[in-house]
């Protein structure tokens, strides 16, 4: 395996191709345009298809049609574009289709900015569309992980027949870092795609739909979905524990690029003999709530600090996980401002000195 220096967006694009996803539908939007530009160059070489759609609304629905055929298909976009796909995502969740979406988040709300942000946490993990459904959400923190999780996303989507999202901030998309692609990529087997609409020759017709006027039928579908989400909670929770040990005085919970910044802080604090550990959720849904709680209740932990590039979104899930067993603190910057290691370190020092404000974030 060779390490190649690549831009995040291009690494993600290549990873998708390596996972067999050679059907790509998208609409341009900063900061992820390099995905499409890479696909436009690469796909003809591998016999794939790239349709540049007329809008993200159309993208969501082209995915719907394409994924119904049983092929691996995906899109990439950024925050406002993802908002426009919410109806289609809700439909695909209801119809149980294994679509993969890449969201390279930028600052919002509205047109916002184009700099990195993590303000789409709620939208992706709680379901920005209508109805009872969930999206499986993976959050990479390095480009290598962006590659690995993109490939995994296709696998998990197929395994659960559920929309799956790779949620990364603009920095992941824009920066370059060396990455390696697995040479002989083999996956665990996934369930046969016997639900695909491939023409009914020799079998009964297949209908892929989400309508059920009979509420008994609709509820049954929702229960099937709920069952899947429970399985995901049981089997798919992923997280990284960084320098977690019994001496930790603070447990930091942070994801994506933000977690890397926290790692730098933790390294620096270690030099100063202040022990802080990091639990980095890799799956945002399902959320590693039990794992966070297990760390939080350790005797030495004084408080749990959530750091986000948002006004405070994941922190609600952290509070939900910690159940008031320890104080939950929050530090966040928003709108494209990336908290620096210095700021985060300062805030940790304030927590240790008990100087943080009583009310954190907008949840206060």
């Amino acid at each position: 395996m060779t390490r190649i220096l690549m831009k995040g967006n291009e690494a993600i694009a290549e990873a998708a191709i390596r996972a067999g996803a050679i059907y790509y539908f998208a609409y341009p939007i900063t900061p992820q345009n390099e995905v499409g530009e890479y696909m436009a160059r690469r796909l003809p070489e591998v016999g794939g298809v790239f349709v540049q759609a007329e809008s993200e609304v159309a993208v969501g629905n082209m995915l719907f049609g394409a994924v119904a055929s049983g092929k691996r298909v995906f899109t990439s976009s950024s925050s406002p574009g993802i908002s426009l796909m919410q109806e289609a995502i809700s439909y695909m969740a209801g119809a149980r289709l294994p679509v993969v979406l890449i969201n390279i988040m930028r600052g919002g709300p509205g047109l916002g900015g184009i700099l990195p942000s993590q303000a789409d946490y709620f939208q992706s993990t709680k379901g920005g569309g209508h109805g009872d459904y969930r999206v499986l959400v993976l959050a990479p923190s390095t480009l290598q992980e962006a590659v690995d999780l993109t490939m995994l996303a296709f696998h998990l989507a197929d395994k659960y027949c559920n929309p799956t999202m790779v949620l990364a901030d603009g920095m992941i998309g824009q920066m370059m870092e060396p990455v390696e692609f697995p040479e002989n990529y083999v996956e665990e087997p996934v369930p046969p795609k016997d639900w695909a609409t491939t023409g009914c020759q020799g079998r009964a017709p297949i209908i892929i739909k989400s309508l059920a006027l009979d509420p008994v039928v609709l509820e049954k579908n929702n229960l099937v979905l709920a069952e899947k989400y429970k399985l995901m909670k049981r089997d798919e929770i992923r997280f990284e524990a960084y320098k977690i040990n019994p001496k930790n005085r603070i447990l930091v919970v942070s994801y994506g690029t933000m977690a890397r910044i926290c790692q730098t802080v933790i390294d620096e604090l270690e030099q100063e003999n202040i022990s802080v550990g990091l639990l980095r959720p890799i799956t945002l849904f399902p959320f590693p709530a039990k794992e966070i709680l297990a760390e939080a209740i350790k005797p030495n932990i004084e408080s749990v600090l959530t750091v986000e590039m948002s006004m405070g979104q994941m922190v609600e899930d952290v509070e939900w996980a910690v159940k008031d067993k320890k104080p939950v603190e929050f530090y966040g910057r928003t709108g494209g401002i990336v908290p620096t290691p210095e700021e985060v370190k300062d805030y940790i020092m304030k927590i240790l000195a008990k100087e943080t404000p009583a009310v954190k974030s907008w949840n206060g």
Binding site: L5, T30, I114, M176, R260, I261, P341
Partner: protein
Amino acid sequence: MTGQYEVTFAGFGGQGVMVAGQLLAYSGIEEGKNAVWIPSYGPEMRGGTAYCTVVISDKRIGSPIINSPRAVCIFNPPSYEKFVPRVKTGGLAIVNSSLITLTTERTDINEIRIPANDLAIEAGNVKATNVAMLGAFIGASGVVGYDTVKRILEAKMGKKKSVLDINMRVLEQGFQFAGEAMRKGSRV
């Protein structure tokens, strides 16, 4: 080089600052190190100042966000004002003196002024300005080896011989220029 080194390249859009940073990052990887390249991104930045930062390290790179780099390579006047104040104490500033007459009051950094535009124009292509600056940077910092950068240049620009030749020439000139300046200048 050991530990972690950060350098910011800054200039007008079109001066090739992004490519200079990428060439450095490629060179870092080539030498088996870790490297991160982070741009100021978005075409909306057009007309303003463009910049990128490269982090090179032996170890896992944590924060890719660098507020105070160890070095800056400054291509134009606005960037001079914006970035020179940010350099870490004891750090390095490579300054394109063809366009920049501004000076700094900082005495805790090492400033190398090189007429990069002029060197490039002389060599036959103003677009080679960035490689002249890159040459100066590695000459002064030694973050990556001169030969490594040459290999990368060949790999990335090898298609057009004439272009490559010009770039090789200014790379060397920049490298020499800064090396001498460093030998002469007193490091802080």
